[in-house]
Every structure is written in structure tokens, then in C-alpha cells.
Amino acid sequence: MMARSNGAKKISALRRLPIGGGVILLLFILTAAFAPYIANQDPIRQDLAHTLAPPFWEEGGSKDHLLGTDNMGRDIFSRLVYGSRISLAVGFLSVLIGLIFGTWLGLVAGFFGGRLETLIMRITDMQLAMPFILLAITIIGAFGPSTMNVIIVLAIGLWPYYARMVRGEVLSVKQNEFVELAVIGGCGTFRLLFRHILPNITNTLIVMATLNFGMMIIFEGGLSFLGLGVRPPAPSWGGMLADGRAYLTVAWQLATFPGLAIMLVVLGTNLFGDWLRDTLDPKRKAY
């Protein structure tokens, strides 16, 4: 009886760890880091003699091209492996920039209040009132597609969420006695913001950033899919999908695998983010 309940305890402790999400995420991060050692082909080299080759387990496939080749004869597996670098980098950088910018404005708005707060929050509202994809295609239409522009546009789409959340949190943290005591103790504004208030918001920020990371990977894929994101021939998953669309009837592998990659990495991020939220930020519910 005793042993059984111990076993059950162990299992429930294990269940609380983010094994599924953590392993998936780690796998993708390692793939991106060691891409040259994992990919067995050059992701950009074309081989017009061997276009649209099937994956190795289908008839006519070979171990040279594990998942087959695309319409230019490029190795799909190697492109997927290198594509992880683009997706993860775009996801990470856009969230980082959006977070820094939004957090800064949210801190300022929540802490100082007054007209500055009204101004910042009105701008936030306005931007949130514009469907994100439309804002993105308008901006990219004006500046032209590039990886850098995608990162900037995604960051522009994200900052209002951080500004709004941080402002709300600052308003509630400010009510605490320790803030008052710090002021009485002669604490300067800068120190108060970054040593006393910001640390109380960090957990919420981490959870939000993790969940946004997956979302930004999907958006990058979507923009590249529309031809408004990462420019070819760079192996972006969304761009690969767009290329594969025209060959659906003859080569299913072109469009299938990049999407699977996006889904897996986002699934991993979401699972990990859900776990983080339950652990770091238990007040917040699923939605």
C-alpha cells in the first residue's frame, strides 16, 4: 500500500514537469544550434536533375534526401533543419524587442500616470484595434519584405500587449507597502522601478513571452507564406509551404513537412508556456 502511494506521488510529480513541451523545444533549439552537423545537404543548392524526389520510405526515394527534394531539387530535410534557425531567431528577437519596448512604456505609464499614461494607453488601444495581419502587410508593403522587417513588424504588433499588461501590474504593485517604504527610505525613481517593481512582474512577463514566442513563429510562417516575410532562397518554413502549394497533386511532401515542423515547435512552446504559467503565475487562469 505504502509503496503504491509513493509511486503515485512520483508520477504526479513527473506529470507536473514540462517533459513533453520541454523535450520538443530543446530538440528544436539543438537542431538550430547544430544545423550544419544535422543537415546532410546544402539547403540552398539546387539540383534540377533530381526535383520532387519522394521521401526515402517511398518508392524512388533515397537516403541522400531523407524527406525528398523540392521543385528546385533542394533537400527538404536540410531546408527544414536550417529553417529552424530562422523561425526560432525571428520568434525570439521579435518577442524580445516587443517585450522591452512594451514593458518600458507600460512601466512609465503605470508609474508616472497623468497625461503621459493617457497618451500611451490611447496609442495602445488604437493599435490593438487594427487586425494585426493587416497592420503587418501595410507596413511590409511600404518597406518591402525582409527578415529584419518581419522581426520589426512582429515586435510592433506585440508591444501594446506588454504595455497594457505591465501598466496594470504596476498599478497594483504600487499599492504595496514595500513601495511606500522604499520611497520613505530615499529610494530613487530608477531604482524603485527596476529593483522593487519590475521584479514583481517578471514571472508574468516570462509566461507571456513564452506563449507569444510560438505565436510569432506562426505569424512569421504566415507572412513568409504570403510572400511578405523572409525572402527566398532562405529556407523559411512558411516560404517552403508556399512553394509546395503548387505541387500538391504531384508531391505532397513539399507542403506537409514544414507545417508539421511549425505545429510541433508551437505545440512544444504552448505546453511549456502552460506549465510555466501554472508554476510561476498561478493567479492567472487559462485565459
Partner: protein, 305 residues
């Protein structure tokens, strides 16, 4: 309540004004409309003439004033491609997008809510676990991939459904499911968690002690109270769908606003892009206003905040 709605209405007008500023800044200050319209090989004189014709040599605040004056009348200029007023072109494409979005919303709600309720009624059962897996996958799968996979399976392999264009009801099925899939997964999870929370309340126990049947407890007592977060989320979801429609319409060659916007971007047809961005924002703001009003009506305490 009227005062609250009036305030929200005024707020909405302010937001629309702000969106005009954003559109103006993006297109007039950051990008050069002339560079987009003229052939790059044109001479400097041609550029200057075009600038003058469009009033771009005027001071910025005057330009904004003119832009605003025209925008209020829905005049964003002529489409450079179709040679007709941009807004008229956009309005012609609006019904298709509304049709698609509504169909997707129906799919979202009619699948997401019942499955969420069933999941919550028997938590941690096999059905609940399958539902959860489905919801997790649905929230992770990008809709451009789902759409293409749906085309591959139902259009190319099984040849069951049409995969492009607008037409009868069967043309609507795949695009609506593609567009609604993410929302369905989210609504499913949201309904489940809201229901679980309500089912834990004292008045539910009271209802059970009274001897009401389980289905009555779940559907009449719990569901109604779990509805509020779902209604709020549906408002947000509409915004997401307006964005998602851009991709879904492109995949299925659906003749709506989103596809028009993408086509116009690739052809540098800026007046049309501006009109789409403006109209979509106005629709979105109106929906939000509607949801807030509805919310206020469901729960009158809100207006006193």
C-alpha cells in the same frame, strides 16, 4: 447604461481617428507613395510632377488634413490597378469575407462550445483527454498549413469538396473550417475551464441536492453562468478571424477583402490597401462596441464601474 454606451461610442470614434493617423503615417511619412506608383526608371521631373499632382509637396499637416477630409467620405483615391474608387472595390469584396467569417464563427461555436461542455461534464475521461489533445493541436497548427492539408486530403486525394473560389454551400465548408479551427480549439478549452469553475460552485451543489437531473444542472444552471467569458472571447476572436481571413482567402482563392489586400500589396496598389485596413478596423471597432454593449446587457453591474 446609456451613459456607458455613449462613452464607449465616443471612445470608438477616437480610435478610428487614431487608426487614420496610423495609416497616414505608415503610407505617407514612412513610405514614399510615388516611388510605389511610378516606374523606378522615370525621370526626376516625372516624380516631381506626380508629387505635385498628389499634393505631396504640401506641408505634412495639410496633407493629413486633406487625407482626413477624404477618408471621412470613404475616399482613399482610385485603385491604381482597377482604375475605380478604391473604397468601392473594397466594399464589393466585403460580403464574401463576411460570409466566410460568419460561417467560420458558426463552426467555432457549434463545435467548440458543446465539446467543451461535454469535456467539463466528465473531466479526465477518455473523451475529455481526446478533446484536450485536439484542442492543443488545433492551437498549434498554423491555418495556412491546415488549409493546404485539407485541400490535399479532401480536394486532391478524396475529391470530395471544391477547393477554390466562392459558390454554393460546399465551397464554404473547407475555408470555414480552416478559418475557424484555431478559434474552435480555443473556445473548447475556454468553455471547459469556465464550466469546471462554475460546476464547483455552491449553487450547483444545491441544484444537485434538490435532485435535478445532471443534464439540467450542467445545461441550465452551469452553462448560463459559464457563458460570460465565452462571449467576451468571441469578440476578440472576430479580430483574429479578420486577420486569419487574409491567409484563408489566399489559400482558397476566396474573393474577399483579405485576398484583395494581398493582391494589392504585391501590385503596390496602396489606395486599396489603405481602404482595406481602414474598413477592417472600423468593422472590428464596431464589433467591439457591440460586444461591450451586449456584455453590459448580460451583466448590468459592469456599467457602474
Amino acid at each position: 447604461m446609456l451613459k456607458y454606451i455613449g462613452k464607449r461610442f465616443f471612445h470608438s470614434l477616437l480610435m478610428i481617428f487614431g487608426i487614420m493617423i496610423i495609416i497616414f503615417v505608415v503610407t505617407h511619412v514612412l513610405g514614399d507613395p510615388v516611388a510605389l506608383m511610378l516606374d523606378p526608371a522615370s525621370t526626376k521631373e516625372e516624380f516631381d510632377l506626380m508629387r505635385h499632382q498628389m499634393g505631396l509637396d504640401q506641408p505634412l499637416y495639410l496633407q493629413f488634413f486633406v487625407f482626413l477630409k477624404n477618408a471621412i467620405r470613404g475616399d482613399f483615391g482610385e485603385s491604381l490597378r482597377a482604375r475605380e474608387p478604391a473604397m468601392r472595390l473594397v466594399l464589393q469584396h466585403l460580403p464574401a469575407t463576411i460570409e466566410l467569417t460568419l460561417a467560420a464563427m458558426i463552426f467555432t461555436l457549434f463545435v467548440g462550445v458543446p465539446v467543451g461542455i461535454l469535456s467539463a461534464a466528465k473531466p479526465y475521461s477518455i473523451g475529455d483527454r481526446i478533446g484536450k489533445l485536439f484542442a492543443l493541436a488545433g492551437q498549434a497548427a498554423p491555418n495556412f498549413w491546415l488549409g493546404i492539408m485539407a485541400i490535399l486530403v479532401f480536394g486532391v486525394k478524396l475529391k470530395l469538396l471544391p477547393i477554390s473560389g466562392r459558390g454554393g454551400l460546399n465551397h464554404l465548408i473547407l475555408p470555414a473550417i480552416t478559418l475557424g479551427f484555431f478559434g474552435m480549439a480555443a473556445v473548447m478549452r475556454l468553455t471547459r475551464s469556465a464550466m469546471l469553475e462554475v460546476l464547483d460552485k455552491d449553487y450547483i451543489r444545491t441544484a444537485r441536492i434538490k435532485g435535478l437531473s445532471e443534464s439540467k444542472v450542467v445545461l441550465k444552471h452551469a452553462f448560463k453562468n459559464a457563458l460570460i467569458p465565452v462571449v467576451t472571447y468571441v469578440g476578440l476572436l472576430f479580430a483574429g478571424m479578420l486577420g486569419g481571413a487574409v491567409i484563408t482567402e489566399t489559400i482558397y482563392a476566396w474573393p474577399g477583402l483579405g485576398r484583395l489586400a494581398v493582391q494589392s500589396i504585391s501590385m503596390n496598389d496602396f489606395p486599396v490597401v489603405q481602404s482595406v485596413a481602414f474598413l477592417a478596423s472600423v468593422v472590428f471597432i464596431s464589433i467591439n462596441l457591440l460586444v461591450d454593449t451586449l456584455y453590459c446587457w448580460i451583466d448590468p453591474r459592469i456599467s457602474y464601474k
